[in-house]
Symmetry: C2
Subunit: 335 residues, 2 copies
Amino acid sequence: MTNIKKVSELAGVSTATVSRTLKSPDQVSLATREKVLEAVKAAGYRPNWLASSVKSGRSNTIVVLVPNLVNPFFMRIIGGIEQAAQEKGFSVLLGDTQGSPAREHEYASMVLTNRADGLIQLDHSFPFSAADADLAEDLPMVSVCERIASEKKYPVIELDNYAASRALAHHLLGYGHKHFAAIVGQVSSQIYRERLAGIRSVLQEEQIPFEQAQITGGAYTIEAGIAGVEHLLSLPQRPTAIFCFNDDIAIGAVHAIKKAGLRVPEDISVVGFDNIKVSAFIDPPLTTVDQPAYDMGRRAVEVLVSQIRGEPLVRSKEVLPFQLIERESSGPAPL
Amino acid sequence: MTNIKKVSELAGVSTATVSRTLKSPDQVSLATREKVLEAVKAAGYRPNWLASSVKSGRSNTIVVLVPNLVNPFFMRIIGGIEQAAQEKGFSVLLGDTQGSPAREHEYASMVLTNRADGLIQLDHSFPFSAADADLAEDLPMVSVCERIASEKKYPVIELDNYAASRALAHHLLGYGHKHFAAIVGQVSSQIYRERLAGIRSVLQEEQIPFEQAQITGGAYTIEAGIAGVEHLLSLPQRPTAIFCFNDDIAIGAVHAIKKAGLRVPEDISVVGFDNIKVSAFIDPPLTTVDQPAYDMGRRAVEVLVSQIRGEPLVRSKEVLPFQLIERESSGPAPL
DNA sequence: TGTGTCAATGTTAAGGTTTACATTGGCTAA
DNA sequence: TTAGCCAATGTAAACCTTAACATTGACACA
């Protein structure tokens, strides 16, 4: 291992001068600087990041907890996180939790052990174990999309899910639909409650019933979409419009509807959520709500880094704009 | 910051005993152990990972260079990497390079600065800058899917792209196709050459021409698939079967073909590569080659970690099995 | 009793870097 | 000439943990 001491000997200066040459060159005379840089090159020296980090007490690293790596929506968020982190001189540790609390605990504890300076949670759970909870009190943590379930309010970057769902509902009402269903993904989350409330509020205003039987789900997957449709088609009153709580579910739903010999949107309209890339290119292209995933990731990093730097929190909640994307998977209700 | 010294004072023992209690408890008497653990709890102490890492000289971290985070195939690989890394006590630093050499250099240099112990490259370039190249000589590095372009042969986990392409070609020949085209994604990569060679070898055996004009591409994206089809449909001799070098391209190709008023597979057969999740659920479901992405990621970590541990390299190249997945996007050639 | 052994614990150096403080020496201004 | 200043550099402590080596003391056995 070539270390700073070896370089200092090679250049005939002290280790402090080597350090200064690399970190604050203006404090070193030109002649010495050149001498040192030459020695650095000759020795093939690269400063040991671990050593400087232990000195500063900062790892300049953030850990991101993702429930599901293969979800393209999350990946767009992470793309934004990665980009912004890099710009700010941070690196990103990936924490694929698969929704497992044990894994969440493990990754979250990295912030307690100086392995990371802060964390971004993409799921809705409070990621620390009960044992760590009190230590986690004032740690930099930000959530994206979901709100972290805890007494203390951590900053959150989110969408107005209530309004977005209302927009989808109005869109479908405009097509004359009267029989609705929802395939909701993960129950027990903030998102679930808000979106459902948004839909309910619109239907109530129009005095359209929306029964429990019409609400199904379990996960944000294509399979859940297929299973949801199979369930819905077995009901006595078939819905003419289905809210899917993300685009993967919607893709599964469209697939299952077509497989059952029905048409989208002629027989059943399907709307999704997230606007993932592929949604525009399936048949029929998906009506959905666009979330600015990349920007949400970027913003999360900005908020997190300012927390890490100890700057006062401006807003504990930021709501980013959504956009209703009307495509061909939704259309007039059948007569 | 509560450190080990504070705990040692609280417990009335030396720092060494605290360290031993946590790292090798069998060396400490039961009574002391309990005393120390109580103090640890009372102080809310968590060992500083940076400090122990600088001591050991190991960060137990690997950095993964990904050209494109949103590609679900890469994400499956990374899922495998993440899982295996966690099992082996490593964490994963994410390096979203967007194909930019500057970013590759930056992430790769993390291995030189003790920020990471090894790296996994998902692209085909040698990720170190020219200045770092000689330092990078013997660093732990593994590539997945693509082979790293350098004199020194780094271990690679890959697929038999040649054989897989031959399988696809035979599949299409079996349907009576005679006019082929390919939308190839990134040119200049190993994958490109091998897959093309595989297709060419089969067509040559059957004395079927395969002209340069029929080969198009540029990126592994849906848009490239669309652009590719638009180009191919403008040619005097329209192909009846299109090889797409990944499923995203194939999804774009199917979309564009349908948009042009043609049918898949009745007018044109389309085959993809990778078998991403959504490929089974688009219309028509995609004929493709399944790559064991998750296992490739896992295996890459195993090889990398054994390199990090200084174990001798068993094989510098591991070829994992592919599987031809025949679905409805390919069918008999039109008359 | 004395010696040897061993488990338990303490002391301290080491890991590589940064930085507060100290030193050097050249220069200016009175 | 000399005090004073300042830029350049050096010295050594600090960051926190770990581990090699040292010490202690209890116990066994001759």
